[in-house]
Amino acid sequence: MRRTRRQHAIVYAGLTLGLALVIGPFVWTALSSFKPEREIRRDPPTFWPETWTLDNFAELFDRVDLGTAFANSVIIALVLVATNLLFCSMVGYAFAKLDFRGKNVAFALVLVQLAIPAIVVMMPQFVLIAKLGMVNTFIGIILPTVVTPLGVFMMRQFIADLPDELIHAARVDGAGEFRIFFTIILPLCGPPLATLALITFLGSWNNFLWPAVVAQSEQMYTLPVALNILNGNEGTHYNLLVAGSVVVIAPILFLFVFLQRYFIQGIATTGLK
């Protein structure tokens, strides 16, 4: 297809306008977080901060224990990344390469879990967590998502494409199934594991509702939960809110900009298959 210069210019103009509308709110929020409260409320508004200040962040960390919330978010996300990498690949391997009775039924359960809305099971899950004495604990926040159906699905798709001969050869040599999995299959799963790690980290970092229900004291809050409490208590102190928003969004932004290749590949393939 031949394209004239003018058509190209129109496409670029459209894409640029779209980009301005999409990242505008982020840019505006980020710039505002470095303005003094007076300047945030000034009319007409300033785009670029006249006076740069870190006061908003200082006051924010003074009011809310964001350091703890940040650490909690990181710990929970890392634990979930570890459990999901291990379990999703194990389960995915079994569905892709092992023959066993009831396999199809079990795999259907993966799809069923994907279809169960969070709100529908949340209440009984909470009652269960309460019965187990896990309210306001890390384990209570972590447990329901230690292995996720999307991860199982992704790993199964990838492992299914690995050649069967690898496994047959190892079986002939007398290797057990767990040894085959850990020494032959897992080392080949680098790319999908990277994608899964990123998706899991993001999902955990951004997860709000379940941690908000389970975490009931400030020492257990994750970042989104802490920011939401701030949102409820300081609803009109926009200098604090925008600073909080920056603290929640910035780490993910860095992660995403550097690792986006894995992420977009993962989304595109799960969507297509």
Binding site: M1, R3, Y12, G14, L15, G18, L19, V22, I23, P25, F26, W28, T29, I40, R41, D43, P45, F87, M90, V91, Y93, L98, F100, R101, G102, A106, L109, V112, Q113, P117, A118, I119, V120, V121, M122, M123, P124, Q125, V127, L143, V147, W205, F208, L209, P224, N231, Y238, L241, V242, S245, V246, V248, I249, I252, F256, Q260, I267, A268, G271, L272
Partner: protein, 306 residues
């Protein structure tokens, strides 16, 4: 297997199959246990609770719970807030769905229209950003944008002489604001999936259509759209299942107000859960679950038939 297999070899084969089954189940055990305990169990318990008058205070003493039949379901139908929530959810889905898929398709087509790789990757990255950021971070940013006096949106409107409304505090603009925010946030997902599909359409199809005299619009309609059909179906089902459950956006931005104008079905259930009406919330959950499953099945049926 032939009938002439010696007995001992047949027995060995059975033993092998049993051993293999056992190992397969060992591998999937983490998923199966978690599914049973945290998903299937709660789903069934939720449905069971919906036929009782269970409240949060009954958790310690399940014997105090009475079976009340379909009372909770009857109460649902006459509950003004629940009905409002149902209407809001339908409005939200039927407006946000075409918006998000339309924007995603437009972005994907523009990115696939022969622009250079590097700028294309840059735009794709930017468009996808809202999708991966925390809803709380985004909701706070949008509350700030839509703030009636200090907010950027109303100040820009002021420049062209329009007095903007108090977006999130007015009954007529609160839900539309959340719908626009949701479309803004989620179209990037559809863009990525649709773009990947667009890139698999052979160039020859377009060239052949061009030779046949098809204009740009005709090529889009007769080559692009049919080729994207399965992926568009996936996007529609995926997005509508997600949108049917919208909860966090109104929870953080408006708490369902003003006057229930942004109360969603999921948020209404969440609120009932919060005040301890477990049986009643279970009934509403069961209805929502049924509607979501029915909607997905219906979409898949209709999408495959044509």
């Amino acid at each position: 297997m032939s009938l002439a297999v010696p007995a001992h070899r047949a027995r060995a084969a059975v033993r092998f199959a049993v051993r293999r089954s056992w190992i397969g189940w060992m591998f999937i055990l983490p998923f199966v246990v978690l599914f049973a305990v945290f998903y299937l169990g709660p789903l069934l318990v939720g449905i069971g609770m919906s036929f009782t008058d269970m409240r949060s205070t009954d958790v310690a003493d399940p014997l105090a719970v009475d079976v009340v039949g379909v009372d909770n379901y009857l109460r649902l139908m006459n509950d003004g807030a629940m009905r409002r929530a149902a209407v809001n959810t339908v409005v939200f889905v039927v407006t946000a769905l075409p918006l998000t898929i339309g924007l995603g398709l437009a972005a994907a087509v523009l990115l696939n229209s022969g622009i250079a790789r590097l700028p294309a990757a840059f735009f794709r990255l930017g468009y996808y950003l809202p999708n991966i950021t925390s809803i709380i971070g985004i909701a706070v940013a949008w509350k700030f944008l839509l703030e009636p006096e200090a907010g950027l949106v109303n100040r820009l409107l002021e420049l062209v002489g329009i007095q903007g409304p108090n977006w999130l505090q007015s009954e007529s603009t609160a839900l539309p604001s959340i719908i626009v925010m949701t479309a803004w946030r989620s179209f990037g997902f559809n863009m990525v999936v649709l773009l990947a599909a667009l890139q698999t359409i052979p160039k020859e199809l377009y060239e052949a259509a061009e030779v046949d005299g098809a204009g740009r619009w005709a090529r889009f309609r007769s080559v692009t759209v049919p080729a994207l059909r399965p992926v568009l179906l996936f996007c529609t089902v995926y997005s509508s299942v997600g949108f049917m459950q919208f909860l966090e956006e109104p929870l953080v931005m408006t708490r369902g107000g003003p006057l229930n104008s942004t109360l969603s079905a999921s948020l209404a259930i969440f609120n009932q859960f919060g005040v301890g009406n477990y049986g009643y919330a279970g009934a509403a959950s069961t209805v929502l679950f049924t509607v979501i499953v029915a909607l997905a099945v219906l979409q898949l049926r209709l999408g495959r038939r044509r």
